[in-house]
Symmetry: D2
Subunit: 119 residues, 4 copies
């Protein structure tokens, strides 16, 4: 997996270069990027809209669909990094800090096999 | 920046461990994760909903707001990695491949300063 | 059903009055309303995020959940009408015209029981 | 305006007939409709993604764009009615009830010209 040797900064730099080469930072107000990100998340969701949750687990068997989903996921993460670039957010720190909160909010022993206190 | 030394795999592993410790893979059908991702993207967008694009560029000056936005961004990227985990997608490859396509679709010399052929 | 005697204009007027009484048209740029609408659609989706498609058919049996969903749906339609108000779109005409297109795109005899040509 | 003489029930019936003629209720689990609705809301938002809030106020001057936006809005409201049909929600009651709550949450004298207590 290329993910094992690729740092977050390297991917962020790919996005930054693409944006700067087109002089697109003028469009990349964080407000606009947040909209672009939500739109790409919806396009990703389109692939799952009419199929069963169970069927969605078997998508890796369909290479063409998996590639199409990979492209949409790349767009989502790409805009996430574009937003981090504009706002100067360290993604790795943000994720580590949020997961500390999540572990406090959802202690493993109380939420094993359930996603809510009622669930 | 922690992003300079953190690989994508390391972040994916943080998410994977969190999910597995709670036995939540049963809920993590790709269909459901795609919904969760879109919902988090909307929560991120909430921070930008009523402010001007220009004002959104100055958000880094507001430490409390920036931290709140960082948390939502962490959720978006976290679910993106959860989806990559379930479907076995290499995020770095997906982004690199998509950017090849994007460079073909938006040649820098034709799209400098404009985001569409009419724009 | 109150829907049988309520015109679309009456509902649009309720929204218009609410906005004008608060002098909120200044925030109601169509761009901003489109974001608000997408955010409310995501909040509506939250109710369905982790449950099965089949279970979602039985939600009318749970009065509290149904009421909560009704509130989110009201927000979605409310912002839809707010957007129609700002842009001067006749909702009934827009829906009738779109359904003409949809009937051409999805002829009943070719799409009975399938939502795509491959499906 | 056709909205002045069209009841909500009439529009809901147009959607119901379209769905039933194609035997599509099998796909219309509320979970799936909520996804379709969020996707259409994102498509609507696409029209506003890169333009200024101010520019979005002048869209009614561009007949082609306005028609395109009207189609996306029709899709959003169409799926909203499809969801109301499946769940048996009276839209007019839901909106009236929600607006009672909204008037309590945002008293006109305290929120005139501001959308939050800090704003």
């Amino acid at each position: 997996m290329s993910d094992q040797t690729t740092t977050v900064s390297e991917l962020r730099q790919i996005i930054r270069t693409f944006v700067e080469e087109r002089d697109w930072r003028q469009f990349h107000a964080p407000k606009n990027i947040s909209m672009a990100l939500a739109i790409e998340a919806a396009e990703l969701m389109e692939h799952f809209q009419w199929i069963d949750a169970e069927a969605s687990r078997h998508l890796p068997n369909d290479a063409a669909k998996l590639a199409a989903i990979g492209e949409e996921l790349a767009d989502v993460i790409g805009y996430s990094f574009a937003l981090a670039n504009e706002l100067g957010i360290d993604v790795s720190d943000a994720i580590r800090n949020k997961m500390v909160k999540n572990r406090q909010k959802y202690p493993a022993d109380q939420f094993r096999g359930r996603y809510s206190r009622d669930g």
